[in-house]
């Protein structure tokens, strides 16, 4: 097999500095929003005692889920031995760490007491899936750092495959854990389902994959490094399969709920007459986030890069829409305390909870994206994550031009 040459990016162009400045501004805006929220208390946000997790969680869970999926390319190479993906493994690992860091930063900054992070690190209730996740997240970062080290250090290259396999197993457990944060919520009808664990795994593959393709396209274009059509064809087809997988688990989840009389109320709310949530589901999640990207990924030629990138952007917008419907819509539906009764109180019982995202919440969430992408941009300059060339003949010795 031909040897892959990796090289740091130059990082001296005007475009690079403009990118860093933009991402830096995003990070600063996020930090300022967090300070504002903590200083005043959460009443200045759209969150309430009814919608306890708001827009920051939409971004945080989205980024955390995408993080494990960004490791796809590395996993396909390490676990399934696909040579064409091997040159992508370093970038894949880097992106996984960066996205997780961005997501966790949002999660921590949205805490009521982020200053007590040390408490979360020193007091554990091992029956809590949240506590397990703290270990799963930190463990994932540590594991991928080791994985990157094995890949970057030539003497240790031989160990990179077993570490990669272990990282793949870990990421499946991690996303199972993230899905189970909701799956274990017995009280709320929109959650409380085992299928949320595999749904979240499918979401991670899809969101993480889409971000990976976009970063890859941008990095190759920005640095003028070649990227083969064959490689892109594989990536886009795989992305299409991931989008289908998400749709499948979403359908199973809703069908199961629709079958249960006790859950028909919440399904009717989300799918039929939930106003903004229904529209976000059908237009955002299904049409923009699934149907259109599927058409693009399965019909576009690999050369149509702008179109493929557009498809990935749609997947990500649909993913955010999905998180919004799932998180906010799921909480907006009142909990069934007294089946068969109309319930009312001065505390929102029996009523659809009102919520509209506030600017600080959106800025904090976008700040998380800024942190993730800024980390990637800086790391690409510091260490050789990106191959000098991803042209088809370089990345796949078995590939012949014009084949497949």
């Amino acid at each position: 097999m031909t040897h892959i040459h990796y090289r740091e990016i130059e990082g001296r162009s005007l475009g690079y500095y403009v990118l860093l400045a933009l991402l830096g501004a995003l990070v600063l805006a996020g930090l300022a929003a967090a300070w504002y929220m903590e200083h005043n208390g959460h009443w200045v946000t759209g969150m309430s005692n009814q919608i306890v997790w708001g827009t920051p969680h939409v971004f945080a869970v989205f980024l955390i889920v995408a993080a494990s999926g960004a490791l796809n390319a590395a996993s396909v190479a390490a676990v399934f031995g696909r040579a064409p993906y091997k040159p992508l493994a370093r970038l894949s690992g880097l992106l996984a760490i960066a996205l997780l860091a961005g997501g966790l930063a949002v999660l921590v900054l949205d805490l009521g007491r982020p200053d007590r992070l040390i408490v979360a690190m020193t007091h554990y209730n091992f029956k809590s899936i949240f506590a397990w996740n703290i270990f799963l997240y930190t463990g994932f970062i540590a594991l991928v750092v080791v994985y990157l080290w094995m890949m970057l250090e030539r003497r240790l290259n031989a160990y990179s495959r077993p570490v990669g396999v272990f990282a793949f197993a870990w990421r499946l457990v991690l996303t199972t854990g993230t899905g189970s944060i909701f799956g274990f919520l017995v009280a709320r009808q929109a959650y409380d389902a085992a299928v949320l664990a595999p749904l979240f795994i499918a979401m991670s593959l899809s969101f993480g994959g889409a971000i990976f393709i976009l970063v890859l396209l941008a990095a190759c274009r920005g640095t003028g490094r070649p990227l083969g059509d064959e490689l892109l064809r594989r990536l886009k087809n795989l992305q299409g399969v991931f989008v289908l997988a998400v749709l499948y688990f979403v359908a199973v989840h809703h069908l199961t709920n629709l079958y249960l009389a006790e859950r028909q109320g919440v399904e009717r709310f989300l799918l039929l007459d939930g106003g903004v949530y229904t529209r976000t589901f059908w237009i955002g999640q299904v049409l923009i986030g699934s149907v259109l990207p599927l058409l693009i990924f399965f019909t576009a030629r690999a050369g149509a890069r702008t179109l493929i990138a557009f498809g990935c952007v749609l997947v990500l917008l649909g993913g955010l829409a999905q998180m919004y419907v799932f998180l906010i819509g799921g909480q907006a539906w009142p909990m069934p305390l007294f089946p068969g009764k109309e319930v009312s109180s001065g505390f929102g019982d029996g009523a659809i909870a009102a919520y509209s995202p506030s600017l600080p919440e959106v800025l904090l969430g976008a700040g998380g994206i800024g942190i993730a992408l800024a980390l990637v941009a800086l790391a690409l300059k510091a260490l050789p994550f990106l191959p000098e060339s991803l042209a088809d003949t370089d990345d796949d010795p078995h590939h012949k031009t014009g084949a497949a």
Partner: protein
């Protein structure tokens, strides 16, 4: 008016008797209370019995609770804390309307305690579910998990705090069953207010003591938990819902 020697002696004896008895009665009350050094015991399980048929159109329990615990609102219903609330139920089939107080149900298997990452949500040996304000990080997962919507997040700076009920911006709080009163041998403020000015719908006591009024009344007639399907074995029981 003249007082005979016999009357003087009688009054004197009564005064001496009262002087001797009073501390004794006070001692009985204190003996019921737990000393600060003594740990809460699993030999007791504190609970409430709420008879919805006795609960009228008042909210003295809510007012008393929030006064007792210094729960002051800011005129923002969506974010103000509510440790106890009045809920109105209307039967969809029959149209029958009733009202009842709802608060932390002090579950034997509390979902809030299960999900809390730091262990800030905890259950005392005597069944009272509390939040340790020192290690609550404000993640709000307990609020997602509580089936009774019993918990509130402190959304802004607090004023008028009581020494026995510390509150803090950025942490989660809920009904403590007036643990400070219970530990002093008294009953929760909501129950006291309901008995004094309300419909006498609430009864507090030790569910594990077969001699207690609450245990006896629960043993005599049917009662229910809210969401019994979850099998949380709540310490708060209802009648006539």
């Amino acid at each position: 008016m003249t007082i005979s020697r016999r009357e003087v002696l009688g009054l004197g004896a009564a005064a001496v008797g009262a002087t001797l008895l009073a501390p004794g009665l006070r001692l009985i009350e204190l003996a019921r209370a737990r000393s600060p050094e003594e740990a809460a015991t699993s030999l007791k399980r504190w609970g409430l019995l709420i008879d919805a048929s006795q609960c009228g159109d008042c909210d003295v329990c809510v007012t008393a609770c929030h006064e007792e615990n210094g729960v002051v609102g800011h005129g923002r219903p969506a974010t103000d804390a509510q440790w106890i609330r009045k809920v109105t139920l209307k039967d969809k089939q029959t149209g029958y309307v009733q009202t009842l107080p709802l608060m932390c149900q002090h579950c034997e298997e509390p979902p809030c305690v299960d999900v809390c990452p730091t262990g800030a949500s905890f259950k005392r040996a005597d069944g009272i579910v509390l939040v340790d304000k020192h290690i609550c990080i404000g993640c709000r997962y307990c609020m997602m998990a509580c089936p009774y919507k019993a918990r509130s997040f402190v959304h802004e700076d607090t004023t008028g705090q009581k020494p026995h009920a510390p509150r803090g911006k950025g942490t989660v709080e809920s009904c403590t069953l007036c643990v400070h009163r219970v530990d002093a041998g008294k009953i929760p403020a909501c129950v006291e207010a309901c008995n004094k000015d309300g419909g006498k719908a609430m009864l507090f006591g030790d569910l594990k003591d077969p001699e207690s009024e609450i245990a006896q009344r629960l043993a005599r007639a049917p009662s229910t938990q809210i969401r019994p399907d979850l099998n949380l074995n709540t310490g708060v029981r209802y009648r006539n819902i």
